[in-house]
Amino acid sequence: MTRTVLAAAIAALSASAALADHAFLMPSASNLNGSQSIVQIDAAGADNVFQFDHRPIPLDQIRVWRPDGSEGAKPEGITSRFRSTFDLKLDAPGTWKVATVAAIVGGTAMVDGVERRVSSMRFGPRPGGPPPAAGPGEPPRQPPILLAELPATATDLKLVETLTRTETFVTVGSPTTQAFGGDTRGITLQPITHPTDLVANEPAKFRFLIDGKPAKVAVHLVASGQRFRDNEAATDLTTGADGVVTIRWPAAGYYWLNATAEDDKPTERRASVRRLSYAATLEVAAP
């Protein structure tokens, strides 16, 4: 796919909210006991769910919520080529939440008669080194224009606001729900079945909210171990208008749950579409 076509595809605002990679936060355990528990969190974006094959999630984008709903200390750890890793000291009983929320505006615009990519984020150096040179005959690729520096004279704005939330939950002792509140932007999960209390032979129910209100979202469920299958083998479900989805687990294991929705309520006034994505790492126990 040439870059122009790719840019056009992004700008076409296709219904598919598929994102570049599968961001996930993977805890070393979901249920622990005792006042001295430590859980280790791996944070990465991957081509294949739960594999470390693409990029780390920077530690400064990760926030921790304590069981009482207050924000915990900033994670301190290391960031390496494919993942960030940090230890979380669980010094209070109940359910802890680890989350990242990223809001990005991107797309294309015509600037002085040339189609340019636009992004609200200034990209740092690529983790894998500089991109390969453009192919023979292709014009050199222009870097994206920062949205804040987009001239007022720019035309044909095709901008999409993307709000991506990535979470996981860890429980010490009995599960609690105070950590589920807080920032309500985009899609959030409200437990009906608690996400650290999942068993393969019992259906789970979750309610999804958009900006804090129950809303219909598409739910995409991928089990770990894609490397050992021929395809993603995902389960696709849709919530009712009340935002509730019932999941029957195919087997015990780790699952990447991705809820997506699209609306026309971006907070950036120059964007026309808002794409919402929510991802959670869930551990489903054997009965």
Binding site: A29, N31, L32, N33, G34, Q36, S37, G173, A285, A286
Partner: protein, 154 residues
């Protein structure tokens, strides 16, 4: 009575003098690295609801700052069905792990009233985990295949 209902709220089964016992066998295993298993014996209400713990054998007395409770999550069915809300150690219920052999555990008076099934769960470090379920009536028996031997109610 008052004491009894208090203990039931805590998810523990009050054990008065009673005739009924559940006999649990821990098999002797021929393995290179053996640790005595954690074992939970509990009553699961047939109509659903929290389980009542009859016995829990774990690392009680271990000097780890947690009194041996850290790995109780390995008894994952018991943990989820009520173990995680108990305050341990609990008198008459908590016990250190036990060596291979057969043990008679007294059952509470209402255990055989028909409202429960009896569950025995065992998990062993560097070993497996096994769950044995049997109806709560005198003469019932079942047997585990790996971590548990015969379980009978007398």
């Amino acid at each position: 009575m008052r004491l009894s209902s208090l203990t039931l709220i805590g998810g523990l089964a009050a054990v008065p003098a009673t005739a009924a016992t559940v006999n649990v066998t821990i098999p002797r295993l021929s393995v290179a690295e053996y640790s005595k298993p954690y074992v939970a014996v509990y009553l699961e209400p047939a109509a659903g609801g929290p389980a009542k713990t009859v016995a829990i054998w774990y690392g009680l007395g271990k000097r780890d700052g947690e009194n041996g409770t850290k790995w109780l999550t390995e008894l994952r069915a018991w943990w989820r069905k009520g173990g995680r809300s108990l305050h341990l150690p609990a008198d008459g219920v908590s016990s250190p792990t036990k060596a291979p052999g057969s043990y008679a555990i007294p059952l509470p008076a209402d255990a055989l009233s028909g409202g429960y099934q009896i569950v025995v769960e065992a998990a062993r470090e560097h070993g497996g985990r096994e769950l044995v379920t049997l109806p709560a009536k005198v003469g019932a028996s079942a047997s585990g295949k790996t971590e548990l031997g015969a379980v009978t109610i007398r």
